[in-house]
Amino acid sequence: MQSVLALLRMRTSSPWPALLIWLVTAGAIVALDGWWNLGNLALLLVLGSTLASFWLTATASVLASALAVALFNWFLVPPRYTLHVQLHQDLLLLATLLGTSTLISVLTSRLRQHAQAQAEQARQAERLQQLASRLQHAGSVSEQVQFARDLLQDWTGLPITLWLGKDAPAASHPLHRAWLASQQEQGAIGPGTGRHDEIGVWVLPLRAGVMRIGTLALGPASDPNTLPHWPLDRLQALVRLTADEVQRLQSGLQTRQDQDRLQAQQLRNTLLAAISHDYRTPLATITGAASSLQDTTDLAQVQTAARTILDETEHLHRMTSNTLQMARLDTLDAPLQTSWESVEELCGAVLAGARRRHPDRQIETHVPAGLPLLGCDPVLVVQLLDNLIENALRYSPPDQAVALCAHGNSGAVQFEVLDRGIGIPPEWHNKVFDPFRRVLPETRGDTGFAEATRRGMGLGLALCQAIARAHHAHLWIEDREGGGTRVCLRFHEQTQPAFNPEAP
């Protein structure tokens, strides 16, 4: 049955198999004449007619059958070599033969049409599905356009041109006139559509819902006869699907952008509130110190006030650059400004800053020779380590040393900032990286550092985390054996730049 259906789906382009079948049938009838009676030979003719109708159109098949019956009458029905029929039963036989052949021809032809339509429908469904799945997996609209163009071109064998949104062909473009004409129309235009039949190409609107989101042109064909072979409605279904998918992706992107914008807005608001709050403290201190300068002539007091102002402005400066950097990282769609940096120099820059700000503190450093270079944004990484050192100094007693170390581990580079300070409770190890979070003084137990913890706005570590993430580096906090905190920053192994060492 399957093979019969497959046979039915074949196109009727070639009549040769039918002719061959008729010749074989005729040969068989002539050969068996005299051995079989007339009725059996007539059945042979019906078989031949049925088989031949697979390859012929309904009309051709009926005509062929009629001719065959006439020849059968001429050669085989007594009296032979006349169209005259001697017996009534033979007449009945011929009539039945003609009727049966005609009926079979018509039925076969219909069945074949049906099967072909079904096959075409299956093909179309398959096309729609293939198109939909390709378009759904596309990440961008331009990718979708590319996929749709490739597939349609493949299926129709005609060049496809697609304009989206406000895109339009230049005036010199060969399709400019066709495109212009289609803008005035609701539906498809081109050969066979009844609108602008003369333009030689089909132009269809890309319509998602009621919105026109673009225009698609099919053609011009290298052979002008190719165009009408593709049914317009089938093409329209594919074009509609393309339009829907493009529209879906576009609106999805739009929604995501809106959400991002909203989120950014919320973050900005929180940030602004926190900043303005945290700027007040140092500003108030500076104001106080400055006004006391106005009134006093005592040298010791003047020096104290000046020292206070310097410290507080330094603090303000740090907050400002953290805030700026945070804002920069937040809006950073562009890649980082990375260059090849040596670990030694990064540590050196951090140390130099820390020593200048805290000349009386003990800061240890350990950087082994021969570490790999680090592809990173040096300003950001220095700021990260700088914040970590500043935290370590702030949260540990003045007589305790803090340390900045770096070491290599199978190509990866790990920085560590260690202190003997008050430590961070384990449940806060992750939370301290959230913006505006600080370990509250009461959760720490005591301490003589209440003054220190009051300061800062909890943006420092959040910035550190943001910088680490931007570098795909890992930043985490551990308890240090023997008390205090260890903050680790680990960069993954990087392929080192090409370098030809010089002979010593």
Binding site: T313, H317, S321, L324, Q325, R328, Q337, S339, W340, E341, S342, E344, E345, L346, C347, G348, A349, L351, A352, T365, V367, A369, L373, P378, V379, V382, Q496, P497, F499, E502, A503, P504
Partner: protein, 231 residues
């Protein structure tokens, strides 16, 4: 007559503070808030300008435009002052002929020290090029290709030596990555920052006791290197 400094800074508060501080140290200071004004001063002021202190962000132009215009006509030393988050701008200015830069906020002491280096350097530039360097036990004789540390000779590779000699030529001043790469490795290598990082590492390993805290070969993050000014 005291040295004449042109201070180009659009922030009135900072300009007045610096002006007062510099005047207190014996400089004659002319303040300028815009490019147009600064150019007028440079062209028409009766007393020639000995040093320009230039802020990057001006209301009517970028500091670099003023610098470019200035460099076409004269060799007056230019000291750039800038905000930190603009490394690219600083580098561009240094490459375009600025003598040094300072990051805001800075102390007046540091500004005065950098000004002295700039002025001294210009004084030397018209005399012989710097061929000898001696500071804290490090001695470099460029002409004789000799380097010694605490009296002990140090063996450097030819590239290491060229790098050190280039820094000696401008001791006390920052030399940008581009300048170093172009002068030591050649103009086609100005983007191979890794060469510089690796050779500077080797050089420090041979000269510095604690390479992460160098006493001679200082890092200017994102900009370049500076050899400490000889005493």
């Amino acid at each position: 007559m005291s040295l004449h400094v042109l201070l180009v800074e659009d922030d009135r508060q900072l300009r007045q503070t610096l002006q007062a501080a510099l005047q207190a140290h014996g400089y004659a200071v002319t303040g300028s808030a815009s490019r147009a004004d600064a150019e007028a001063v440079l062209r028409h002021h009766p007393q020639a300008i000995d040093l320009v202190i230039l802020d990057l962000g001006l209301p009517d132009a970028d500091g670099s435009e003023l610098l470019a215009g200035l460099r076409q006509q004269r060799q007056t030393p230019v000291l750039v002052i800038s905000a930190r988050h603009d490394d690219a701008g600083k580098v561009k200015l240094l490459d375009a002929g600025a003598d040094d830069y300072l990051v805001k906020p800075f102390s007046v002491q540091e500004l005065l020290a950098r000004m002295r280096v700039c002025l001294r350097h210009r004084g030397m530039a018209v005399q012989a090029p710097v061929l000898h360097y001696r500071m804290n036990g490090l001695a470099v004789d460029v002409a004789a290709h000799r380097v010694s540390l605490q009296g002990e000779p140090v063996h450097l590779t030819p590239t290491e030596f060229r790098l050190l000699a280039r820094l000696v030529r401008q001791a006390g001043q920052v030399v940008t990555h581009r300048q170093l790469l172009a002068d030591v490795w050649g103009p086609e290598h100005v983007d191979q920052l890794q060469y510089l990082r690796l050779y500077m590492g080797q050089l420090r390993a041979k000269l510095e006791a604690r390479p992460a805290e160098p006493q001679w070969l200082l890092t200017e993050p994102g900009v370049g290197y500076r050899l400490v000014e000889a005493a």
